[in-house]
């Protein structure tokens, strides 16, 4: 039987506010346990929530970016359950009246499959703390620093039909929220977490199959793998005559399998009701328009502009526009060096390689966009070759400083003086009888390929600093002269 996969995503996005959604405690990542959990976050008796204006603004900004209706009246509700990382015994969230109503996001997979994914709604809520399971004499430790961090939960319609579409959708959400500047996008730190609802049905069937929910996936790669694994499991199950049980499952990336989360199996009765400590959030058109006025250029628009303005390929434009900090960086490099293609190659090549290897976000790159631009200027004006530039870049990365400073200090300036190059070429030719003979013996139209050896020798002798264009010309001229 041919199966159709149906996927819906719930993405939790941590908003990059300075403070918690309902308290004035800092949301900075990585602090000592419980040092950023104030009386309100700990749910001390008598404490009360007050709503963070920036969390509201960011949620509205997101809604506007995904073509959604904005809830002019939204209501916080309490979702009641007991868990040690949930200090109040309820999560403050939105249910019946969320801040962001229906909207949509257009996606495209690497294979070029395009789809419009419906956004069911997005709501504001508070994050929970963390349970740490190191051994405290058989106990767990609770850190509530994260408790109360504002989240927008973005709930899609079940519109995706493959794991690749799901990953493309998640990437797109990531691109949008980072472009909007409402989330730092750091998935390793949990700034964006994904729950995938997965079901299968016979192709052509209208009714949805029973879905399972894959919890808390924190990388795009794992979204694809987790869904593929779960789909395979469901197909095997059904084809073996079994039935899919609606449940929450956990993806184990090490074993590449999903397994049932038994502890969450208990039928939950969350007893939602409007939070009496908070009042309805009411905003008007003026507010919405004021937020709309701050919308930055969104990834789709920027990608289109990159192809038209910079003549980039669809692929390059897509990669460079997917992450706002990267797109901003790229454009600054272009501005500095005036060569969009060269800038694209460097940002996606050497820079990306170093960022990856050092697990560094582009915002924290030790080589600034202006510095990289300065380096590319020196390639363009023939001060250095592309290969030398890589060496300069490495030094800029490790030691800091501008390209010019490093070129100067390390004496890497390209030799363009033809007299000096001629002298070196003469030396190389004089010491390479065998290769010169071979060159002479070769058919004239094959000789070009044989220049490589001589070129290598010249570069070796100059420490790579000779201008490759000039060397090629001189070599050709001198060798060809020997052939006459």
């Amino acid at each position: 039987m041919e199966w159709e996969v149906v996927i819906g995503l719930e993405i939790h996005v941590q908003l990059s506010t300075k403070t918690k959604i309902f308290s004035g405690a800092s949301t900075a990542f990585g602090a000592e346990p419980n040092t950023q959990a104030c009386a309100v976050d700990l749910a001390l008796p008598g404490t009360l929530p007050v709503f963070n204006e920036n969390a509201l603004r960011m949620a509205v900004l997101f809604g506007l970016a995904v073509n959604a209706e904005i809830g002019k009246r939204s209501v916080f509700e309490r979702k009641n359950y007991f868990y040690p990382d949930l200090p109040k015994g309820y999560q403050t969230t939105q249910l019946a009246e969320p801040i962001v109503g229906p909207g949509y996001i257009d996606i495209e997979t690497d294979e070029g499959v395009q789809r419009r994914v419906g956004l069911h709604h997005a709501h504001l809520e508070e994050d929970a703390g963390k349970s740490l399971h190191e051994d405290f004499h058989g106990m767990s430790g609770i850190d509530l620093n994260r408790a109360g961090t504002p989240l927008v939960e973005i709930v899609s319609d079940p519109d995706m039909r493959s794991s690749k579409e799901a990953a493309a959708y998640a990437r797109k959400v990531h691109a949008i929220v980072t472009t909007l500047g409402i989330c730092d996008g750091n998935m390793a730190e949990g700034s964006m977490r994904c729950d995938c609802n997965v079901s299968i049905r016979p192709k052509g069937q209208e009714a949805l199959g029973t879905r399972t929910e894959l919890k808390n996936i924190n990388s795009f790669r794992f979204i694809e793998r987790a869904i593929d694994t779960e789909v395979a499991r469901q197909i095997d199950l059904i084809e073996d005559g079994g039935t899919v049980v609606q449940e929450t499952r956990l993806y184990d990336p090490d074993k590449n399998e999903t397994r049932s989360m038994r502890s969450k199996e208990e039928a939950n009765d969350y007893r939602y009701f409007p939070c009496p400590d908070l009042l309805p959030v009411v905003i008007d058109d003026d507010y919405i328009e004021a937020v709309r006025a701050t919308l930055p250029e969104l990834p789709d628009a920027r990608r289109a502009r990159f192809t038209s303005e910079y003549s980039l390929s669809e692929y390059d434009a897509g990669v460079l526009s997917a992450y706002r900090a990267q797109a901003d960086y790229y454009e600054q490099v272009v501005k500095q060096c005036g060569d969009a293609k060269l800038a694209a190659n460097w940002v996606m090549g050497e820079l990306a390689k170093f960022l990856n290897q050092n697990d560094t976000d582009i915002k924290d790159s030790p080589v600034t966009a202006d510095q990289l631009g300065g380096l590319l200027v020196r390639i363009k004006d023939n001060t250095i070759s592309g290969n030398i530039a890589k060496k300069v870049f490495e030094l800029m990365w490790s030691k800091g400083g501008s390209a010019d400073e490093i070129i100067e200090a390390e004496g890497l300036k390209q030799v363009t003086d033809t007299g000096a190059i001629e002298k070196i070429v003469d030396d190389v030719i004089a010491n390479a009888d065998k290769q010169v003979e071979q060159y002479k013996a070769a058919e004239p139209d094959k000789r070009g390929k044989m220049l490589g050896f001589f070129m290598g020798q010249v570069m070796k002798a100059t420490g790579g600093k000779a201008n490759p264009g000039a060397v090629t010309g001189i070599l050709k001229q001198k060798l060809d002269a020997l052939c006459d």
Partner: protein, 485 residues
């Protein structure tokens, strides 16, 4: 000295008849000597009180004092007080030393008041007799075999027994007004949002409101001046300018329009109480007020609506007491569920557990519409009844309670009969309106309370009406038999 009102004590301090330290020492001695009869204090903060008194005396010496500077007061034990146990009269919080002050506590501190201690109450403010306290019942100074009312029973009894000239209370369904009535004192529940709830241990968030309890309306006005005002820490706090509640006390009442809801004078009302209330209304007529009968047709629905909404909110508000971050934790929990269930099962008393379960049930899947939503709809109907009547009259008057102080144990086995105690008071919490209870007579030697209800933020009007009555009568000056003053 102990029979003086807060206003009279303020004059005494001002004149130099006594210092705050002398006054504070005298009250501390009196609490020490007499409170074993009433059990109105859970914690006496002697050291802190004397330090505050000393500071007040020093402030007075420099001439830098407000109206409340140096005057003793005591707080219901659900207001968080930094460095002092704040128990909400529950085993759950018997070991809880609050790391912070409630907004009203710091406001009263800043006004220079001296905190004598923390007052007994029904556990988590759930009760109308003060019998559900972990620290034992409070006894009514008008008869120690009788309840003082609740949940602010310790506050009412302490004021009535002259153990403190004023106290703070909180009122979710009548918890200021009902004990004030039963103990023969004055107690004001302000408009919802007028006094900050920050630092007041929540019972039912959309109903809870703190207020002053004292012998007279004038004293309540003085205390309310310090308590009331906008608080950015409380999202439900009303953004309104502060006002001086003492300023309008002496307005004459000529032309005042009083509404008497016919539903408040039903068969359930004790005849003696009814008679005293009618006498009091006649007194207002003498002062120039006019009286007409009005109708609040949904009065009877207040009780069912309230007993859904309050437990529903409470069931959620009390989830934070889980033995993890503060408060009672059971011995040797075997797992997480055991930790929760035993900490909460052992830490909460019976009435609290009952209400948590009612609330959890009312909110649970499948029952929300029939219970919670329905109750919220009835809540609006009740509010609209009041709005309509208050378009027509200035104030509504009636009995605060259907009867006078009952005997300890009389209703404790039957929660529903206890709930009927609140029939006249809890509609104001549902509607968010202000109300004051003042002593207006006695029947069988026990005080009767008159409830005066006003429009939103009409606290000044209520205090004015009450004060004028107290200028013309002396019910508020009555002392329980045998009480030395």
């Amino acid at each position: 000295m102990f029979d003086k009102t807060l206003a009279e004590l303020a004059q005494g301090l001002e004149r130099g008849d006594f210092s705050s330290t002398e006054l504070t020492q005298a009250y501390l001695q009196r609490i020490n000597a007499l409170d074993s009869q009433y059990n109105s204090f859970i914690t006496v903060t002697e050291e802190q009180a004397l330090a505050q008194a000393k500071a007040a005396d020093e402030a007075r010496a420099t001439g830098n004092t407000g109206a409340l500077c140096g005057l003793p007061i005591a707080h219901k034990d659900l207001f968080c007080t930094q460095g002092v146990r704040t128990s909400s009269a529950s085993k759950m919080l018997d070991n809880f030393i609050s790391p912070y002050d409630a907004t009203i506590v710091s406001r009263l501190k800043n006004a220079g008041t001296v905190t004598l201690g923390k007052l007994n109450m029904d556990e988590f403010a759930m009760g109308s007799s003060n019998e559900s306290s972990f620290y034992g019942p409070v006894r009514n100074p008008w008869g120690t075999d009788r309840v003082p009312g609740g949940s602010s029973g310790g506050s009412a009894a302490a004021v009535a027994a002259r153990l403190t000239p004023a106290a703070t209370g909180s009122d979710t369904g009548g918890s200021i007004r009902q004990p004030a009535a039963l103990c023969g004192i004055t107690g004001l529940k302000p408009t919802y949002g007028r006094v900050s709830r920050y630092g007041m241990i929540a019972f039912a968030s959309s109903l809870d409101q703190a207020g002053p309890m004292a012998r007279t309306a004038e004293d309540c006005a003085m205390v309310l001046n310090a308590m009331a005002g906008f608080d950015p820490m409380d999202s439900t706090s009303a953004e309104r300018d502060s006002e001086d509640y003492t300023a309008g006390l002496n307005q004459p009442l000529a032309g005042l329009k009083i509404g008497l809801p016919k539903e408040y004078f039903s068969a359930a009302l004790d005849a003696g109480v009814a008679e005293q209330v009618r006498n009091a209304v006649a007194e207002f007529e003498k002062l120039g007020a006019s009286v007409k009968e009005v109708s609040l047709p949904n009065t009877e629905l207040c009780i069912p609506a309230y007993y859904i909404l309050a437990p529903a909110e409470a069931s959620s508000n009390l989830s934070r007491f889980d033995g993890v971050r503060y408060g009672y934790r059971c011995e040797n929990p075997v797992d997480l569920e055991d930790l929760y269930k035993r900490s909460r099962g052992e830490g909460f008393g019976t009435e609290v557990k009952r209400r948590i379960m009612v609330g959890a049930y009312a909110l649970s899947a499948g029952y929300y519409d029939a219970y919670y939503n329905k109750a919220q709809q009835i809540r609006r109907m009740i509010q609209q009844d009041f709005v309509a009547v208050l378009n027509d009259v200035d104030v509504i008057m009636g009995p605060t309670t259907p009867q006078t102080a009952f005997k300890l144990g009389e209703k404790s086995s039957d929660p529903v009969s206890m709930y009927m105690e609140d029939i006249f008071t809890l509609s104001l919490n549902l509607a968010g309106l202000p109300g004051i209870s003042i002593p207006c007579g006695q029947t069988n030697g026990l005080p009767v309370g008159l409830q005066i209800i006003g429009n939103y933020f009409a606290e000044s009007k209520l205090l004015n009406v009450a004060h004028q009555f107290q200028q013309a009568t002396d019910w508020h000056k009555q002392t329980p038999a045998g009480l030395e003053v």
